[in-house]
Amino acid sequence: MVTLNPNFYYVRPKIDGTEEKKEVVSFSTQLVLVEAEKLGITWELIPETEMYKLNWNGEIGYFLDRTPLASSFSAVSTCMDKHITKLFLAKSGVSTPKGYSITKTDTPEYIEKVFNALQKPVVVKPTNASHGDGITIGLEKFEDIMPAVEKAFGARHYHNATVEIEEMFVGKEYRITVTRDKIIGVMHRIPANVTGDGIKTISQLVEEKNQHPFRNIFGDSEYQVYGKIKLDDEAKELLAEQSLTTDSIPEKGQQIFLKKVSNMMAGGDTIDLTDEIHPTVKELALKAINAIPGLAIAGIDFMTKDLFSPQTPETYSVVEVNHNAEFGIHHFPMVGKERNATFDFLQLLFPELESKS
């Protein structure tokens, strides 16, 4: 029996017979294995890989990390390049942020030309990194572009690495997990924040919020579904911009943001809104995954000014399509209904599978 475990590592056998821990098996992957066992599916990790072989009454299925065997190479390679993803989306009539990809050999003059052609503020990001690595947002001045470009190239050393410079869409961030014909879940992602009660300081509110069970599923482990909010330099800077310190006492109901990016590991929040989205959002999410041939499941980063109204080309933007979907946020929403995303994932491996929950 597999149980959710912060010490579940990918290992590599070494020549002296010992095993070396490589990295922890992602929480989403662990959830898939737990769900598989619940459904009577046995599994094995193919040694020295991140590939799983599953057996359901003699039927064999495979997945790698969180990508099912059904996803094609051309689909995944499309998702791995955020610029190419946007070209596919645009071809299908899905709105994306206007942008250009640049290479290591491009001159500062060319980069300036790109910058001038875009509406400010802009975002600079590696086209092939994940988890927000190397990304800089909200850039208004050209002098800030070159350091951001260097940081983005630094996140990936590939000789043929590219960096995207794109217009920053202003709106709320959602993660829509979707198969080619079904919405699995819609999650509002919110950067780390606290809400005042008129009594406690920001430090106290953070400490209180960090007690939430979802931020402590694995005890003291650094590894959690939701990271704890840290009052680090970034948070303090953001507070200073609002003329606040960690000792300030926000008013009752006042929401104070402590991070710019809505990253769950950096203390973010989630609200499940699957049942509340406007039908046009559902249509667009399905259109987005179907824009990429051969992609079986995806986590779509969807931004919009209003999730509950009809979407028009200007009110929303699809920022990224991730081939490695995340299941943890759907199984453990901070607010709202939980969705059994791992079952839908397993059904891609075994279409005849029936839910037991």
Binding site: L69, S77, I84, S101, A117, G294
Partner: protein
């Protein structure tokens, strides 16, 4: 023959600009498609081609059909994974280990000491023979090879494959999950003497072949005279000015990569049936890889293979099919057509 190579473009603020073109292998696929009434276009800026046959649309990128899954690509692209999967299926791979950046000097030396020399070191996800070190016999050169390989990539999955060097002839087998399309014997760059011309002149002559160029727009690549060539000659007490005897074969490099001027000789029809069986088993083992090029070494390709007589070196997801269509010597094989039959099985009924 002049070909109209497709141009890859990217969008800039002043419009679309060409930065690269298709290789001969890709071009052969597009030309073959046209022959079957399949229309094609690149989805602008993506390097992915959309092909349409009747009302069916399918895609390919590089030389990978959309039926090849991400898992198939991963299993072939990461050579440590390939090795492991083949080994599990009782296919012969060279004895070896996977060295990673975090390994200590002691770990690295333990690997070297556990293997029979000479060994080969190569990045676990390289291509085109880049940074492949062969014939390693001493520790100093071994550690140098590791440094170069580890420096070439920073992906967390990437390290160095260190394995025993198999002695035998090198072959490239192009196969699907149920069929061998072609088998090429790969020979290191070489010239054949005529008793009158110097090695330098023979190289120049060989390079005049229109099937050779400096780019992948041909199936054979120009032989470049560099320090490796001079060193190889020196080992046989030759120089570029030596005049080899009539019919004498003079090898100019140790590696048999076509990218450094090697020759491709089709041997499909003389291979023993057991070779084809092994190739198909390899393709079925790498789940989700529908079309691939297997680097196969054997002592004798015409004989029944035994576990000790052959070795699978690696499996390539994007297999440079042009070498089978336009070999240096031997019969041409319909590698492009077989690719299209995978992309559009519907073609079989037409």
């Amino acid at each position: 023959m002049s070909r109209d190579f497709h141009s890859y473009q990217r969008e800039t603020p002043s419009g679309w600009v060409t930065y690269d073109q298709t290789t001969l292998s890709q071009q052969l696929l597009l030309e073959e498609a046209a022959k079957h009434g399949i229309s094609y276009s690149e989805i602008p800026g993506t390097r992915i081609f959309e092909l349409q046959y009747k009302d069916i649309k399918r895609y390919f990128r590089a030389q990978v059909p959309n039926q090849t899954t991400y898992i198939g690509w991963y299993s072939a692209n990461f050579k440590n994974v390939t090795r492991h999967m083949l080994q599990n299926a009782n296919l012969s791979v060279p004895k070896g280990y996977f060295v990673m950046p975090q390994d200590t000097l002691e770990d690295k030396l333990a690997v070297f000491r556990a293997l029979q020399k000479p060994v080969v070191a190569k990045p676990s996800n390289g291509g085109h023979g880049k940074d492949v070190f062969t014939n390693i016999t001493d520790e100093e050169y071994y550690l140098h090879a590791l440094d170069v390989c580890l420096d070439s990539n920073d992906d967390r999955l990437v390290g160095v494959i260190v394995e025993e060097m198999f002695k035998g002839e090198e072959y490239r087998i192009l196969a699907t999950t149920d069929k061998v399309i072609g088998i090429i014997n790969r020979k290191p760059a070489n010239v054949v003497g005529d008793g009158t011309h110097t090695i330098r002149e023979l190289i120049e002559n060989k390079n005049k072949d229109p099937r050779r160029s400096d780019s992948y727009k041909t199936s054979l690549i120009t032989i470049k005279i560099d320090e490796h060539v001079e060193e190889t000659l020196k080992k046989n007490a030759y120089t570029l000015d030596t005049v080899p005897a009539q019919d004498e074969v003079v090898y100019l490099r140790h590696n048999s990569n076509l990218s450094t001027g090697g020759d491709s000789i089709d041997v499909t029809d003389i291979a023993h049936p057991s070779v084809k069986e092994i190739a198909i088993k390899v393709m079925q083992t790498i789940k989700g890889l529908e079309y691939g090029g297997i680097d196969f070494m054997t002592k004798d390709i015409t004989q029944a293979q035994t576990p000790d007589s052959y070795c699978i070196i690696e499996v390539n997801d994007s297999p440079m099919l042009s070498m089978h269509e336009v070999p240096y010597m031997g019969e041409s094989r319909s590698a492009a057509k077989e690719f299209l039959l995978i992309l559009f099985p519907e073609l079989k009924n037409s």
